[in-house]
Symmetry: C2
Subunit: 217 residues, 2 copies
């Protein structure tokens, strides 16, 4: 029984990493679909929602049965409670990537992005995927130092996000309001995705230290 309990705890960890990889892949393909106006890839990304949601629901069932049958305490309980939060963050990351793919699909065959902001979004996508990669490593290692690094990694994203406002608010912005509205929404999706990786990092720090700094919403 004891070993099976440890196995359950291990699978909690690897399931979270698997979900994170899905959110990472969804973001990578959503960004490519956005930049290349690739309809098939956008649809493939959108279809991945079911998988991520299924994994989240499975994880919750598993967590519920661990809590009910094993009544974990101390660190094990913190792992389960943090996991409940982390699953919600990872699921939301997947959801945000899918929003990006949905916008690419809605505008197809047109490109959503005027060419002069493509580089910013390529960079936002790169940063987001790299943050998700670090998040996955943090989930597997529960390394508080790596988590602390991730916690500050969203500055790069914030800067990219701000640069979008500068571009669209310039008096000589030539692409009109609808393009600016799309860019505003997309910028928000990337920024929120990045925020969720930071939330996961905070939860892992909580696991290591027992202290949780509440979200700066």
């Amino acid at each position: 029984m004891r070993e099976s309990y440890n196995e359950q705890l291990d699978s909690v960890r690897s399931d979270l990493a698997d979900m994170c990889r899905m959110a990472e892949e969804a973001m990578a393909s959503a960004t490519t679909a956005l930049l290349t106006a690739d309809l098939a890839l956008a649809e493939e990304t959108i279809d991945s929602r079911g998988q991520i949601d299924l994994l989240a629901t499975d994880w919750e069932h598993k967590a519920f049965s661990v809590l009910a049958l094993q009544a974990p305490v101390a660190l094990d309980l913190r792992i389960m409670v943090s996991g409940i939060h982390i699953v919600a963050d990872l699921q939301r990351m997947g959801g945000l990537a899918i929003h990006i793919a949905e916008l690419a699909r809605r505008r197809h065959p047109a490109h959503v992005l005027p060419s002069e902001v493509e580089a910013v979004f390529a960079e936002m996508g790169r940063v987001a995927v790299s943050q998700a990669e670090s998040t996955r490593e943090v989930l597997l290692t529960r390394d508080p130092e790596l988590a602390a690094k991730l916690q500050t990694a969203d500055e790069e994203m914030d800067q990219l996000h701000r640069s979008l406002f500068v571009l669209t608010s310039a008096p000589d912005w030539p692409h009109g309001v609808p393009a600016a509205v799309d860019i505003t929404l997309l910028g928000r999706f990337y920024e929120r995705y990045s925020d969720h990786t930071v939330e996961v990092a905070k939860r892992v720090i909580f696991l290591a230290t027992g202290e949780f700094r509440s979200e700066d919403s």
Copy 2:
């Protein structure tokens, strides 16, 4: 001991309702601050963040100790696990209301909104506050029928949200890109606030039925 446990469970319920009331008040005052360009009210709303976050952190500590010391099962465990999700939703609702107040502060003494979209935002604020009121009632009563009603109440918000895109995307939109960008962000904040009330409703239905339909992110 048993009575104290029941008291703890009762306080879990009333704490959630208290947090919901805070998120509701934050939305009401943020909307007024937005519509009247009231700087003092915007700042008051922004200052309420600390209170909401504190209540959320307190709740989590309380939940952790209930789980650790009482090892609840069945419905009691579902209440605790759902509560963890619900606290996150309520905290985020507060955060979104604060984002609205922050935008009102940033543009002060100017009004964020051109006069022709004021009515839409007044209505979005009214719908959001009314959804939060229903959410609070659902939290107090755990009435699955009321929760089911709340689950579909976001259609009104979606319609208002869509009407913003129609307005800002019209070829004769006279207020330029920066106003459209602000309106896009604000619309998203109201819509997400509304989404979170729906999420809470789903969690309460899960409490009543043991079945959870995953988020349509």
